[in-house]
Symmetry: C2
Subunit: 217 residues, 2 copies
DNA sequence: CGCTTATCTATAACGCTGTTGTGCTTCTAT
DNA sequence: ATAGAAGCACAACAGCGTTATAGATAAGCG
């Protein structure tokens, strides 16, 4: 490899390129493909770039986990609020589930890679979207209780289903199970059966156009 | 290392020693300590033992994941059946949660390492314990529905809480959350509030003696 | 402009990893 | 007793993350 045209100080985009290459490799080829030499080859640089723009593979992997949460937050932000906050939460739930199942390697990575103690609150900013949605349902009188507490129960259910589905023990019935458990959960939140059924119908109308399909690749 | 007294064909216990050393290393020092050379040193042999008794690190890791499910099943089998099947399920739930939180590295490993397609039903034999417990509650008229379906919902909830707790986002309130969500879940299974409260009281009596504490190490 | 300084990078090397090949030792079976 | 098989130690391979070193370019300042 000849040392030809090489920018020196003017290359903050190498960091972005590394991160995007890492995300693509993780999604398409799995975590084993995340090596310094492979990343360097993909970006067209040397392994030193990993140490210049990150502090090593550990920090790069952590940045990649954050990128995963950032993409999930972006997806959740695409869910537009309506006059039915419960339907909004349902649509967010489907977005969460669909996004996770479309990129299982990335989803698993997000909840695995921050095993280190520092900055435990990795996905909390993303989780705030769900809390806000639940808070609107509480304010509307549909849910009774503290928004964060209720949102946590929804998160636990979604996360449990997604991870077990990824592990291969749910035989692809994860989304259906999520709908069932989600309905029961919302009923335990104080919403009445008829309202839930109407919100399900309303949420269903917002889903079929493959709104959450694009990133299915 | 001199080649001194070395049994040839009469050593099926080397396989067990490797597996136990692997489990101990995983629990005490984390997944990074699972290397061929480290395992060989721990057992007092060479790295070739990994290839003699397993087919390589991949198969050894898979066997270790199975060992984790085997230990979990053993723990669940320690829960004695009583005349209150719902209380039995509650005690099993606490056993599941406590066992997982006592060895988070092993628990995470169990659901991660079978990423390969072959033999997806790794923990299904273990899961059968929960299904049987739920089936007794159904037969007793406490729960309404198909046992496997209800057990799956309990498993999803427990797994979601455990994994999020391990990830560090539940601030140690996992067990309390599990009790709350578990109660709501059982109520959605058709059990009435008073019966649930009585079963909780009955289950609580069987827990305090640190019945699930020994393996807390 | 000329010079210094800082930043980024390529190359090579270190110790580590999983894996494989080879040969020796020991047990089993005929 | 002899032939075969099986388990093991040792050495070597490519690949991994990481580090040290030196070269090349950009920016700052007289």
């Amino acid at each position: 490899m000849l040392s030809n045209v090489s920018p020196k100080t003017a290359s903050p985009e190498v960091r972005t390129a590394l991160l995007e290459a890492a995300a693509r490799l993780l999604v398409e080829e799995g975590p084993a493909s995340l090596t310094t030499r492979r990343l360097a080859t993909e970006v067209g640089t040397s392994t030193m770039a990993v140490y210049t723009h990150f502090e090593g593979m550990d920090k790069l992997r952590r940045a990649l986990a954050e990128e995963g949460f950032r993409r999930l937050a972006e997806r959740l932000d695409q869910v537009e609020g309506s006059d039915d906050p419960v339907a909004d939460v349902m649509v967010m739930g489907v977005a969460y589930f669909t996004n996770a199942m479309a990129n299982p390697n990335l989803y698993h990575f997000m909840f695995t890679e921050h095993s280190n103690e520092d900055e435990i609150g990795l996905g909390l900013e993303t989780f705030q979207r769900l809390i806000d949605g639940v808070a609107r349902a509480v304010e509307a009188g549909r849910f009774k209780g503290e928004a964060e507490e209720l949102a946590t129960q929804l998160w636990v259910t979604a996360h449990g289903i997604v991870t077990l589905e990824i592990a291969g023990v749910l035989d692809g019935e994860g989304l259906q199970l999520f709908a069932e458990m989600g309905s029961n959960l919302m009923r335990s939140f104080g919403d009445d059966e008829d309202s839930i059924l109407r919100s399900i119908a309303g949420a269903a109308e917002r889903l079929p156009p493959a709104f959450f399909g694009p990133e299915g690749k």
